[in-house]
């Protein structure tokens, strides 16, 4: 009887703490239960990974992500993988379930019918529903990176260099009981991220959406030239003056006099931190970031609340570790901001020092290779069993070898170019 009462009390307490999250069994999936209401659950420290955060982003674990969905809806999502149509599903990670989420196909070049990348919106069908404090989650299908671990390693380096980056962990994805492949759970850059990593969330977050080659050139003072494309507001969307600061920032990039450009633009962003960001891109031999070959790409831009001050946040780092030999100053002249900043000899030196620091401390066999090997061992079986990845198992192994080689070469290559 006492045991029964105790179980009842536990159940009541759990029920009271539940907001929009239900036990897996109750959601029809069968299995364990839990209430992910605490977004500050800690995980085993990993170099380069910020402490705290939701346990679903704990990289020490290969997570178990499950989707339960109407088979017809899953088929439709795959057939119409270019569409952003939402379908309702139940979702769980490691047994912690959330019901009636909206899922849709996502990605640009990574969109796939065979192995869709997914965006999960927890409040698409249930008002204000959250999961560990997040309204959405990205499930990266890892189809554009044969090693399947580039982004994870890249974000470790960004973090280690003091650039706030999304958390990222691998998971086995199961759909209606069928293994659907190895994926990555990627922390969304949204208000919880801003609050925990930047200390505030009242400002405006812009998602840079690549549509055409753009390099921060001045398109005039009309905000429509910048918002919503290529800068898509993700917060404060309804504010009529949402683009005012952004337009001022870009105008300053383009029109501030060269004589005091660094000082002037320094009023808009932390210049050394920004140079650190692009330095990591080149340290990682990335060809698709702010210094991208096709113009700006793969970042969020956050304008702090009431401050007219911006910070860049990295995103989508699957195009890293491309070569062990990579020009130290590659593409710095491609966009207005880095070109004008590094025209200043002192800032050029700050940039170069940051690349050296990144490779000397992190992108080398001493620091990053152990991370690679740990991740590789963690995902290898799941990757080999993933028959929906668009490359062979041999290509997977070769790609991991390739990343090993790049890591081994970067430090020497950078030092040789100083």
């Amino acid at each position: 009887m006492k045991r029964l009462l105790s179980r009842f009390a536990d159940a009541a307490a759990r029920l009271a703490g539940l907001t929009a999250v239900c036990a897996l069994a109750a959601c029809g999936g069968g299995g364990g239960s839990g209430a992910p209401s605490d977004s500050s659950v800690t995980s085993t420290p990993v170099p380069g990974v910020p402490a705290g955060g939701a346990p679903i982003f704990d990289p020490t674990l290969l997570h178990d992500a499950r989707i339960e969905i109407d088979p017809a809806a899953w088929k439709a999502l795959r057939v119409n993988y270019l569409s952003n149509q939402y379908y309702a599903a139940n979702f769980s990670v490691d047994g912690v379930a959330v019901a009636q989420v909206g899922i849709r196909s996502r990605g640009d070049g990574s969109r796939s019918e065979e192995k869709p990348g997914l965006k999960i919106d927890f409040n698409e069908f249930v008002p204000s529903q959250e999961y560990y404090g997040y309204k959405s989650l990205v499930i990266d299908n890892l189809t554009t990176d044969a090693s399947m671990l580039r982004e994870r390693l890249a974000f470790l380096v960004f973090e280690a260099m003091g650039i706030a980056s999304p958390r990222n962990a691998h998971a086995r994805l199961t759909v209606n009981g069928e293994y659907w492949g190895l994926v990555a759970l990627v922390e969304p850059v949204s208000k919880p991220f801003l609050k925990s990593r930047l200390g505030e969330e009242s400002g405006t977050l812009f998602d840079y959406e690549w549509r055409e080659h753009y390099d921060f050139d001045w398109r005039g003072g009309n905000p429509d030239a910048y918002v919503p494309e290529p800068f898509q507001p993700e917060t404060n969307e309804s504010k009529p003056d949402v683009a005012t600061g952004l337009v001022g920032f870009i105008q300053t990039m383009n029109e501030a006099p060269s004589a005091n450009f660094v000082t002037t633009i320094g009023g808009w962003l932390d210049v050394d931190r920004f140079l650190g960001h692009v330095a990591v891109e080149n340290a990682l031999a990335e060809g698709d970031g702010i210094l991208g070959d096709q113009g700006l790409n793969n970042f969020y831009l956050y304008e702090y609340g009431q401050k007219n001050r911006f910070v860049f946040i990295p995103w989508d780092k699957d195009n890293t570790f491309r070569s062990g030999s990579w020009p130290l100053y590659r593409n710095l002249d491609r966009n207005v901001l880095t070109a004008r900043l590094t025209a200043d000899p002192a800032k050029r030196a700050v940039y170069a020092d940051a690349v050296v620091r990144a490779t000397t401390n992190f992108v080398n066999p001493r620091w990053l290779t152990p991370q690679l090997e740990t991740a590789y061992q963690q995902i290898r079986a799941a990757a080999l069993a993933d028959v929906r990845k668009p490359f062979s198992n041999g290509a997977f192994e070769a790609a991991v070898d390739g990343v090993r080689g790049v890591i081994a070469a970067r430090e020497h290559d950078v030092n040789a170019q100083r």
Binding site: L18, Q85, A99, Q100, P127
Partner: protein, 419 residues
């Protein structure tokens, strides 16, 4: 609210009572009768009267919000200028006419009733224009004369609206009223409008205090085409509570939309008892995720209410305050209503989904108790107070996810109307 709307309301509020007290300055021509809001000539079979009313609604949502509170646009506002109806109605020999608009608060839906009719005989008449489809008796009642601030959720969610069309109607003896017509759609201003819709209603009156009614409508809904890159809107009927919370967003439908309902009313002296059942069923041809046919979706519900004019006036369509229990205090009515409304599909196979193309729709429903008090201090003023207690069947899609209820809300209304 626009300045124009404010001005119109002000004129209405100030002019109405003042006009009511004025004495006609001059004697009308012989045969004509001029009252404060009407003109008539009995010999000529002519009569025209102004009609109109204004309503301001107040709401207090006791201890609940939608989601985390940032989404309170999903329920009705705390204060709302609800309606400002201005119009006229009348008859001339066999011709009847009615016209009213809401120029202030229903943007894009200003036109309400525009009716022109002929009464050939008591047994047969014809109406045409922009009129209500004859389906639910509560919907057919003027919003100024409903027993509660909100019509039953089943009526608000499932009954058709106004549309262009024609209607044959009449009475057979004293025991039967009938109407049947064809309309361009089933709600002109709705994005979920069906195409050409037929509707009919029959009311049996076995005695002066008892009515039985039955209604039916049928039309076809044509879904917008779905293809990659397009994002069509679902046209299925939505489930909305008395507090304005949408607990069942409409799903994609395509094909026949049928409604049927039955109702009964007992009315004697100061007391009335009213019950209504209504069902709407919609086909979902080709609306599955892979464009397959899906089982029909239905919304179904009923309501039962009772009212008592404690001041003793006779319960009629228009309440005329007498002296009653509280001498000179006007008319006071107590009312109570219980109702249920739920949505589901006709099968129960596979994954239950809240999605708009769900093969197996996750059912959603609401049960509501409403207690009400109405006070007519004069013939042109009405105060209403309602308490709503709402409980949702699907806790996940309740206003506060995980909490099925009870959600308690207080609704108040001030209404000024032409007597």
């Amino acid at each position: 609210m626009t300045a124009r709307a404010l001005a119109a309301l002000l004129v209405f509020l100030l002019a109405g009572p003042a006009l009511a007290q004025e004495t006609p300055p001059a004697k009308p021509p012989e045969g004509w009768k001029v009252a404060p809001f009407s003109v008539s000539n009995q010999a000529g079979g002519f009569q025209v009267a102004l009609s109109g009313y204004a309503q301001a609604d107040f709401r207090s949502f006791r201890d609940w919000r939608v989601g985390d509170g940032t989404d309170d646009t999903r329920r009705a506002d705390d204060f709302e200028w609800r309606r400002l109806r201005i119009g006229f109605e009348g008859e001339w020999r066999k011709l009847v006419f009615e016209f009213d608009v809401d120029p202030a608060f229903d943007e894009g839906d200003e036109l309400k009733d525009a009716r022109l009719g002929l009464r050939f005989a008591k047994q047969l008449g014809i109406d045409g224009g922009h009129i209500k489809l004859p389906v639910s008796p509560e919907w057919l009642s003027s919003a100024a004369k409903t027993d509660f601030t909100e019509r039953a959720a089943v009526v608000e969610s499932l009954a058709p609206g106004r549309d262009w069309g024609g209607l044959l109607l009449g009475e057979l003896g004293r025991a039967l009223e009938w109407s049947a017509g064809v309309f361009e759609g089933d709600s002109r201003t709705s994005s979920r409008r069906a195409g050409t819709t037929a509707a009919a209603r029959l009311v049996l009156k076995p005695s002066g205090w008892l009515d039985f009614g039955g209604s039916f409508s049928q039309g076809d809904v044509v879904a917008e085409p779905a293809s990659p890159g397009t994002d069509p809107s679902p046209k299925g009927l939505e489930g909305t509570s008395g507090t304005g919370y949408e607990f069942f967003p409409g799903v994609y439908v395509n094909g026949r939309r049928r409604r049927w309902g039955v109702d009964a009313r007992i009315q004697g002296g100061p007391v009335s008892v009213w019950g209504e059942f209504l069902e709407a069923r919609e086909e979902r041809k080709g609306q599955g995720p892979t464009l397959e046919d899906l089982p029909d979706v239905y919304g179904r519900g009923w309501s039962a209410s009772a009212t008592w004019l404690v001041t003793g006036e006779r319960k009629t369509r228009t309440i005329r305050p007498g002296r009653g229990l509280f001498r000179g205090a006007g008319a006071v009515e107590l009312s109570a209503r219980y109702e249920e409304l739920w949505f589901d599909d006709v099968s129960n196979q596979g994954f239950e989904s809240a999605g708009s193309r769900a093969g197996n729709i996750r059912p959603a429903g609401i049960r509501t108790f409403t207690g009400g008090l109405s006070w007519w201090p004069t013939g042109f003023l009405r105060f209403m107070g309602n308490v709503l207690v709402e409980r949702y069947d699907d806790p996940l899609r309740a206003p506060e996810p995980g909490n099925e209820g009870d959600y308690v809300s207080l609704l108040g209304r001030i209404q000024v109307h032409l007597p």
